[in-house]
Each structure stands twice: as C-alpha cells, then as structure tokens.
Subunit: 207 residues, 2 copies
C-alpha cells in the first residue's frame, strides 16, 4: 500500500508497528485496525503491558537474563548446577535451551555477539562479568552456545582468549546434521564439519 492513510493517528500507529521485525505496512495496518475494533480497556491493557515491561523489567545481577527479582529463578535454584555456565546471545536463547529440558546448569546472557559491521564491540557485551564469574574459581565449565555465524565464531574466539588463562573447561555446542534432516539436502560446510567432528556411536537412537 503506497496510499495515504485516511487518518494521521492511524498512520502514526501503523508506522510504529512497521518498526517491529518482520512486520510490513500491510500486516501493520491489519494489526492496528484489529486493535481499533477492541474495547478501550483492552487496548490500554496491550499498551500498558509493553510500557510496564520496559520500565520495570529487571535483569538478573548474575546472568543478565530478564527476571522479576534481583537474582533470576535459574541462578537462585539450588537444584541447578552452578558450576556449569552456558553462554548465550540473548534471553530467547535461554528459553530455547530451557525448552530442551536437557540442561541443568546456569546461563550467562551476553546481550549480542561481536559485530564490527553493526558497531558491536566486546565492551558492549556482558563479557567482563563472565570473566569475573569464572575468576571466582567456582565455575568448572563454560559452554559456548552462540550462533553458528562469523560473528558468533569471533565472539567464541574472543571469550576463549579471555578465559584460556583461568584453566576453566571451555566447550562449544555440537554442530552437525540436524535431527530429522536428510544428508542430500544438508549444506556442504555442515556436512563436512559433521564428518570431521564425528562422535563415537553408542548404539543409542537420537530420534
């Protein structure tokens, strides 16, 4: 739609929605007109939930994940192994790993990855506090779980250099053929890497 909107208020609301990732002008118009049909209390509920989150959200003082308390439920949980730290980019990644139900350690949220192109340098990320956590000597293993991209690799290497003197065990999540994928459709780099980094076969099915 390249047409002018019949109302400037409508246009302003649509413009705000198009700033969100993956929302174009057409979808934004549909969402805004949907809200416009709702009762005023409902629209206020929507609007307030977002601004309240922004104003009142706290971040865990240990792992930097979002939390209602100073220390998040994962960091303060005595059932979690506090000696294993999984380093992730953002809060979504914490939720993604939690959903696997395969991890009983704790996290460290970097807040992004090193990306000179986007102006993100190591000092913009929560790397100093990670080094601090490790330097207490209470952490046995750091698992790097960043994206499999150039930026993720750069960040992995930067953290590796920062922590290599501490003697902490550093590991990286396995890369390979996704479960359920057929070999012929896998990209060459992943397939090559999955052969080089082959694992002992335990006779157990993974599917």
């Amino acid at each position: 739609m390249n047409q002018e909107y019949p109302s400037t208020l409508l246009e302003r609301a649509v413009k705000e929605f198009t700033k969100l990732p993956g929302i174009g002008r057409k979808t934004a118009t549909r969402l805004v007109l949907h809200l416009l049909r709702k009762k005023e209390e409902e629209v206020e509920g929507f609007s307030n939930a977002i601004i309240t989150l922004k104003k009142e959200a706290k971040y865990c003082k240990v792992c930097h994940s979002i939390s209602d308390t100073d220390i998040c439920p994962i960091c303060s949980n005595p059932m979690r192994d506090q000696s294993i730290v999984c380093v992730v980019e953002n809060i979504q990644d914490v939720m993604a790993v939690e959903n696997t139900m395969q991890y009983r350690g704790v996290y460290h949220v970097l807040g992004g990855v090193i990306s000179p192109m986007d102006g993100v340098s190591p000092s913009d990320l929560n790397i100093a506090t990670l080094v601090e956590r490790v330097s207490t000597g209470e952490i046995k293993e750091v698992i790097l779980a960043l994206s499999s991209t150039m930026e993720g690799d750069t960040t992995n290497f930067y953290i590796y250099r920062k922590l290599s003197q501490t003697g902490v065990k550093l590991s990286v999540i396995a890369r390979g053929i996704a479960i359920g994928d057929e070999l012929e459709y896998a990209d060459e780099v992943t397939l090559g890497s999955s052969i080089v980094n082959r694992m002992p076969f335990t006779g157990k099915s993974v599917i």
Copy 2:
C-alpha cells in the same frame, strides 16, 4: 515454547501480543524482546501511538471510515462523485479500493457483514445510515463490494431488500478469474460463474 517465562512482566506483554491476529507465542516473544532492546522513549512512542489512536480516532459522520475530522477527506472532496456509493466491510477495504486508483465515487463502511454464527446481526452494522443516505435521493448508484462469501452474499441480499423500493441503481463488483491467473488452476465455482457472467469483449487488453 511451552515453557514458563523467566519474568511475569515479559509473559504479560507476550500474552497481549498473541491476542493479535496471526501472532503466535514465538513471534510475540520475538516482538516483545525487540521492543525491550529499544530506548524507553521509543517504547513509549509505540505504546502511545496505539492508545492515542484508540482514544482519539474519529469516524466520518457520513461514511463511517476513520478520519481526523468529522467528515473524512473523501466525503468532503468536491472532485469525488458523491452520487456513487461503494459499500465495503471495513477501513482496509476503503484503502484497497483507493489503491486501485479506479474509483472516483465515495464509500460507506458497514463495519462487518451479517454473520449469525459470530453474533453479527444487521443492527450491528451501519446499514440504517446507508438507507438514510440513499433516501435523500442524491445517490444514483450503490456498488456492493463485500467479500465473496456466504456472509457477504447474505449482507448483499439484505441491503438489496432494504434499498429495492428506493429505485437506486444497485450493482455488485465483478467476480471472475483474477488477472494473471491460469484457467486450469481456477476453482470451479469461480470459473463457472465467470462463463455465466461473461462480458462483451471490447478488443482492449486488461493486463
């Protein structure tokens, strides 16, 4: 994601987003966390644009489309043919017809279609004001441009009965094979209807 959110504020905001059409839990989380990374002023801008629209939006007293003024720019435009009224379901449809640049008349926004299943009866729609507009005698033609669904057809027929005594010319937008579509992929009902309602060929290309 069926996991609990690390923050109730986050969960509340995500829940509000999932109420929007076509937004699931995963997309909602992505949108909310995107907003959370923005500056407080920007989030306020987003939040305010929506609530301001809801609180201050006016509707044109003539055609019921959204407007910043009592009479919308289309209804008050002397260049538009005020004697032809195009009846549409909602504001999006006004914008869609406007985008075609093919229509120089005015509109009447019903606010939906008759749908007993969804509890929408004729009295919930702006039909009385349409009858009123026509009864002034200043309207020559009413074009029905509703969805090609059972509900749209029911609404067309209801309006037809309401207006048949007034002597106004009633027309309905053409239904047929969409421009650019191949016959073999068209559904049978549309194809059959396009043969029954064939038009004189003028020798002019429509593409």
